[in-house]
Symmetry: C2
Subunit: 229 residues, 2 copies
C-alpha cells in the first residue's frame, strides 16, 4: 500500500484517500462478496478511517457503485472496444478489434485482478448492482458486437438470430477468463501473454467469420430454422 502523498493544500491527500478507498473496497468486495465485506476492513486496508467513507461515498452501497464506475472507466480507457479502428472500416476489421480488446480486458496481466473478479462474483452471486453492470458495461459491449454481427447477416436477420451469433462470439472469449483456473491446471506451461492473447483472438475471429459468412450467404435458412422452434 502506498503512503499518502502530502501536499500543502490537503486536496491531493483527499483525492489520494478516495483512490485508496476505491482500490481497497474493490479488493475486499471481490474477495468476500458485497454482503460479507465490511467498511472496517476496507478502511483498514486503505489506511483510512470510517469517516472518510462517509465523507467520500456516504455508505457501503454507494462506495460499491463508485468502485464499479471506476472499473468501467479503467476498462474503457485502457482497452477501448474499437481499438482505434474507425467505425467506417469493414466488419471483419471491426470484429477483430472487438475480440482483441475484449480478450485483453479479460486476460491482460497488467489489469488489476480484482476488476475481473468483481464482475465474475456478480455473475456468480448477483446483487442489485448487477443491473448497473448490465446498463453501463454489458449494453455498450453487446451493442457494438450486435452492430458488427448485423453487418454480416444483413438487415433482414431476426434480432434473436443476431443475439445468438453475438453470444457465440462473447462465449468463446469469456471461456478463457471463466475457465482460466482449469485451463492453467491442464496446461501448466501456458501463460496468457500478449502473443498468446493475439493467437487466441485470431482463432476466435477465424472461427466466427466462417459462421458469419456462411449465415450471411443464406440468411433465410438461419431465420426460418429458428422461427420453427
Amino acid at each position: 500500500m502506498e503512503a499518502p502523498i502530502s501536499s500543502p493544500s490537503g486536496t491531493h491527500d483527499i483525492q489520494e484517500t478516495r483512490q485508496r478507498l476505491l482500490e481497497a473496497a474493490g479488493e475486499v468486495i471481490a474477495e468476500k462478496g458485497f454482503r460479507a465485506a465490511t467498511i472496517r476492513e476496507i478502511c483498514r486496508r486503505a489506511g483510512a478511517n470510517v469517516a472518510a467513507v462517509n465523507y467520500h461515498f456516504g455508505d457501503k452501497e454507494r462506495l460499491y457503485i463508485a468502485v464499479l464506475h471506476h472499473t468501467f472507466s479503467v476498462a474503457n480507457q485502457n482497452y477501448p472496444l474499437d481499438q482505434g479502428v474507425e467505425s467506417g472500416v469493414c466488419p471483419e476489421e471491426r470484429l477483430h478489434a472487438f475480440v482483441r480488446a475484449y480478450l485483453l480486458r479479460l486476460l491482460d496481466n497488467g489489469r488489476r485482478v480484482w476488476h475481473g473478479k468483481l464482475i465474475a462474483r456478480e455473475l456468480f452471486e448477483p446483487t442489485p448492482a448487477l443491473s448497473l453492470i448490465v446498463d453501463e458495461m454489458v449494453h455498450p459491449l453487446l451493442g457494438r458486437l450486435i452492430a458488427i454481427v448485423r453487418d454480416f447477416l444483413g438487415e433482414s436477420a431476426e434480432p434473436e438470430t443476431v443475439k445468438l451469433f453475438a453470444r457465440s462470439i462473447l462465449g468463446q472469449c469469456l471461456f478463457y477468463f471463466q475457465s482460466r483456473s482449469i485451463i492453467e491446471l491442464m496446461n501448466p506451461t501456458l501463460t496468457f501473454d500478449r502473443e498468446k492473447i493475439e493467437a487466441i483472438g485470431d482463432h476466435i475471429c477465424r472461427f466466427s467469420l466462417a459462421a458469419l459468412k456462411q449465415a450471411g450467404n443464406h440468411p433465410a435458412a438461419e431465420n426460418s430454422e429458428l422461427s420453427e422452434k
Copy 2:
C-alpha cells in the same frame, strides 16, 4: 426435507442418512464455499448428527469429495454425453449429441441447482478439489469433444489447434450457464425450457460446423498461422 424412512434392518435408514448428508453438504458448500461451510450446518440441514459424517465420510474433505463424485455420477446418468448415439456415426451427429447433452447438464431446470453452482464456485474460488473435477469431469468431456473435432480437422491438425476449436465449442455452451443471470435480466421473457435449449444447441452446432468444415478443407493454413504465433 424428507423424513427418514424406517426399515426393519436399519440399513435403509443408514443409506438414507448418507444421501441426505450428500444433498445437504452440496447445498451448503455451493452456497458458502468449502472453507466457510460447517459440518454443524450440514448436519442440521440433513437432520443428522455429527457422528454420522464421521461414520460415512470421515471428515469435511472426504465428504466434499463424495459430494463431487455424486454430482458426476448424476450428470453421467441423466445426461450421457453420447446421448445414445453410436461412436461409429458421422462427426456431425456426434457433435450435435455432445452439444445437446452438455447444454442440458448446464441449463436443464430438472437438475438440482447446487450441482452447477458447486462447479462454478470451484472455477471462481478453486480448492484442492479442482484437480479431481479436472480428472473426473473435464478430462472425459474434453476427450470426447477433441475426438470429434479431430474427425473434422484431420489427423495432421496440431494438438493446439484442436484445443482451440474444442474451447470455442465449450465456451459457446458455457456462456449460457455462466452469464445466465445477465441473459435473464436482459431478456425477461426468456425461459430455458427444452425447446429453447434445443434451439440454442442447433445454433451452436451450425455456427461451429461452418468453422470446422472450413478448417477441415484448409488444415495447413490453420496450423501454419498458429505456429507463427
